[in-house]
């Protein structure tokens, strides 16, 4: 899996600092061992390979996965993390249900996407233009969203009657959950943005060094705002999928998504300081946390354990990264 940060593979010998190659090799070995162990345990867990379980996993991976794609873009652009994407997802479930009841499926999809994009874009502009701290802005946005959204839709949950049109966004395609197919599509889109568009390259540069990017004539604020715009779009998709799956809009749906998406981004190996990362790697991160969750569940551990384990995973990844970087 290549970091999309560079055009060419690192030169075989040419001048890379000694220790770096060993460091990344050690990381690779550790990662592989971890993955093999995780999947070994998964396969040994009773019921892991059952169709029902696999289908359920794919579906729930899709919800977090969509958010994680946006989170990756934001992080690559040098803005560390957002704590408001989960709230955006939740609010979108309400917007989607409301719009669906009022106008039907197509307008509902459009309105939902627009809503997610606007909410995130507003944050992106504040961060990009005024140089505000991204974490603080996202926390403020989080509070605003959970404060305003239920009030404007008159309630923290809204129900969809059967046959309202939400069936389009659930069910199966080619024998797989439609959510999962969409996730793959969005991941490919995200990676494409990052690797093959001017926007994506600019985002990597702004994340690598905002001042160098500005001195080179890149409109950094616009690039940053763009990354939020896309993140909002991806979060809105997650919101629509959730609302369709459960025929309900609910402000609690996205509660843990920020945390899970951040875990996926970090486990995937996107640089926390920005400038490097890839959506495909984040998808591996999503897979890891999803499998971990299911394995714990199947083996009868309670939810607290899930938090504990993902905390341990994040910490060890960060410790590994910093020790390798220091080498």
């Amino acid at each position: 899996m290549s970091q999309s940060g560079t055009i060419t593979a690192p030169a075989a010998a040419g001048g890379t600092r000694p220790g770096v190659r060993w460091g990344s090799l050690a990381m690779l070995v550790l990662r592989s061992v971890f993955l093999v162990a995780l999947f070994g345990i998964a396969l040994a867990s009773p019921g892991f390979l059952s169709t029902a379980n696999l289908m359920a996993m794919m579906t729930s991976a899709a919800f977090v996965g969509c958010v994680a794609i946006g989170m990756t873009l934001i992080t690559v652009g040098g803005n560390i993390m957002s704590f408001s994407l989960g709230a955006t997802v939740s609010a979108t479930t309400l917007v989607f249900v409301g719009a669906l009841l009022a106008w039907g499926i197509l307008p509902a999809i459009l309105v939902s996407l627009l809503f997610g994009m606007l909410v995130a874009l507003a944050q992106g502009l504040v961060i990009g233009w005024f140089g505000a701290n991204p974490i603080v802005v996202s926390i403020a946005a989080f509070a605003l969203i959970i404060g305003i959204a239920p009030w404007s839709t008159a309630g923290t949950s809204l129900f969809l009657p059967a046959g309202a049109g939400q069936e389009v966004l659930r069910g199966k395609l080619l024998g797989l959950p439609i959510e999962f197919i969409l996730l793959i599509g969005l991941a490919v889109l995200g990676q494409f943005l990052l690797s093959f568009t001017v926007f994506g390259r600019n985002l990597l540069m702004v994340g690598s060094s905002r001042w160098a990017a500005e001195a080179a004539g890149i409109r950094a604020w616009r690039t940053v705002a763009g990354s939020y715009l896309w993140a909002g779009l991806f979060a809105a998709v997650a919101g629509m999928l959730l609302a369709s799956r459960y025929s309900k809009g609910n402000m609690d749906y996205g509660a843990t998504f920020d945390y899970d998406a951040i875990t996926a981004v970090i486990v995937g190996g996107t640089a926390i300081q920005g400038g490097r990362g890839s959506i495909l790697r984040t998808m591996i991160g999503v897979l890891v946390i999803e499998v971990t969750r299911v394995v714990l569940l199947l083996n009868g551990f309670r939810q607290e354990w899930q938090y504990l384990i993902s905390g341990v995973i994040i910490l060890s990844v960060i410790l590994l990264q910093t020790t390798v970087a220091r080498k």
Binding site: G5, T6, I7, T8, A9, P10, A11, A13, G14, G15, T16, R17, P18, G19, F196, T197, V198, F199, R201, N202, L204, M205, S208, S209, W211, A212, A213, E214, A215, A216, G217, I218, R219, A271, Q273, G275, R276
Partner: protein
């Protein structure tokens, strides 16, 4: 005199790369020793070994004739070896006093005792900085003052061998004088100094002896009286070296590439005007803080400025870097690490950073085209093509700078603005950078650079403008460009003449 430090047959390899081979040196008490060599010659590896950051593969080190093994920085400190790092290690939020005692092994838990204040005060006084307020917050000090605090720190630790790594690279003349005085005071106390510098002038004016390194080997150590400038450069490069600077362009020029009228940056630059002809290199000479850097930053759209500027007779709207870029202004920052390179990206990514829109359609990139472009650019910039995939942070300062120049290669001739283009660049790469500048001149670019290195200015400039406290003082061309005239202007300018400009320059 006796040898305080002797290094015997030290070698150190990183993987297959031999960073130091069989290096032996002795340093006497009270000696100021210059360490010269291109980047990658092995100077910093030697320093790291002395500071206990790296361990030698073979060889031994003796202090006062006793063989020692330096395993850690704290051990180096205990042995009396200390370094003033290139990146300053003064903590801005702490007081001068705290910074002086920072990291010292002697500090007890409660250290605001009178004796510690007194010793810190003493140390400062001995290097001519007795007037510093011990309780002042270090963040309010200038870079030069921070360096004095660092030197004082090494003195209270009673360092006997002090290593100074390019201490003057970012200082103004008066601050440089203060550092020199401090170094001489240290010498007078019998301490020894290892002084690393790329500036030839400092070797001859400050140091007693000079050790030249090349490709990881110690080439020679001589008293400075036994070498001359040209000889020293030849020893560093390992080949004869006729003229680092290329001869001046003569010949007529067409339209001006850049015209600046009444440029102002509040509090820094006042009513600065200049015309930059195509194919010429204009140097703005001024001390640190004179506003020279700010002039170029403002033209690049990175400072809020007022004034009338036109590029190629088209008016330029100020205060936007993207607009400046779009109108053909290329800017090379004085701060390469923060504002030049993208440190976590590859050489290829760095060189094509500014031409993505040109290699795309509807925002979609053409990778084959970008790859070809990147390869061509770094070849033209004079960097080994095999470096294309390396992280740019792994390259030497000179190669990084060439990559930044590479961004402008092959573009429609416009304006190239360079702040301190050879800072942190070794002698060999400097010559190549001057050559790159000339090739930009030949293509019809108008070039403007600032430099605090007067020798460089006199060597490369077609036209010299002097600036003092944000105001244009003089304009010189051809024979009128002399070190003396420039130095006078930028330190104690003559009273401004009627029109505000000291027209000492030859006509034309």
């Amino acid at each position: 005199m006796s040898a305080i430090l002797s290094v015997d047959r030290i070698s150190k390899s990183f993987g297959a790369v031999a960073a130091l081979q069989d290096v032996s040196l002795t340093l006497q008490a009270g000696e100021i020793r210059a360490l010269c060599g291109e980047n990658g010659a092995g100077k910093s590896t030697l320093v790291k070994i002395l500071m206990g950051i790296e361990r030698p593969d073979t060889g031994s080190i003796a202090i006062d004739g006793t063989s020692v093994a330096i395993r850690s920085p704290s051990q180096a400190q205990a042995l009396g070896l200390a370094q003033v790092a290139q990146e300053l290690s003064v903590i801005p939020s702490l007081s001068v006093l705290d910074n002086i005692w920072l990291g010292s092994a002697q500090v007890p838990l409660l250290h605001r005792r009178r004796a510690f204040r007194q010793r810190a005060q003493d140390a400062l006084a001995r290097i001519g900085a007795g007037h510093y307020d011990l309780d002042r917050q270090a963040g309010t000090l200038s870079i030069g003052e921070c360096q004095m605090v660092e030197i004082a720190r090494l003195m209270v630790r009673d360092a006997r061998v002090l290593i100074l790594d390019e201490p003057t690279a970012t200082l103004s003349d008066t601050e440089i004088e203060a550092i020199f005085a401090a170094v001489r005071a240290l010498k007078a106390e019998g301490r020894s100094i290892i002084y690393i510098t790329h500036r030839m002038g400092e070797v001859f004016s400050l140091c007693d002896s000079v050790s030249v390194f090349r490709n990881g080997r110690h080439i020679v150590t001589k008293p400075v009286d036994d070498v001359d400038r040209a000889g020293l450069i030849e020893m560093m490069l390992g080949r004869s070296f006729e003229d680092m600077y290329l001869c001046r362009q003569q010949g007529a020029t067409g339209r001006p590439a850049l015209a600046v009228e009444n440029l102002g940056v509040p509090g820094v630059v006042h009513g600065f005007s200049m015309t930059v002809p195509r194919g010429r290199l204009v140097c703005i000479a001024g001390q640190v803080g004179s506003g020279a850097h700010t002039v170029l930053r403002a033209l690049a759209g990175l400072e809020l400025a007022t004034g009338r500027v036109s590029v190629d007779d088209r008016p330029l709207r100020l205060n936007s870097a993207p607009r400046a870029r779009a109108q053909g202004i290329h800017f090379i920052s004085e701060n390469r690490a923060a504002e030049g390179i993208f440190g976590r990206m590859s050489v290829a990514d760095n060189v094509i950073a500014t031409r993505l829109p040109a290699a795309s359609r509807l925002g979609l990139l053409s990778w084959p085209r970008l790859r070809r472009e990147a390869a061509r650019l770094i070849r033209d910039a004079g960097v080994d093509e095999r470096r294309l995939g390396s992280m740019i942070g792994d390259l030497s300062g000179g190669n990084q700078q060439k990559i930044l120049f590479g961004r402008a290669i092959g573009q429609t001739p416009g304006v190239l603005l360079m702040n301190e283009p050879t800072r942190g660049v070794d002698v060999g790469a400097r010559a190549e950078i001057y050559r790159l500048m000339r090739s930009f001149c030949e293509q019809g670019f108008g070039l403007v650079m600032t430099s605090t290195d007067l020798e460089e200015i006199v060597g490369v400039a077609d036209i010299v403008l002097t600036i003092y406290r944000g105001r244009l003082i003089g304009r010189y061309e051809k024979e009128a460009i002399t070190m003396n005239a420039i130095l006078t202007d930028i330190t104690h300018p003559p009273a401004l003449t009627r029109n505000g400009i000291n027209e000492a320059a030859a006509a034309s």
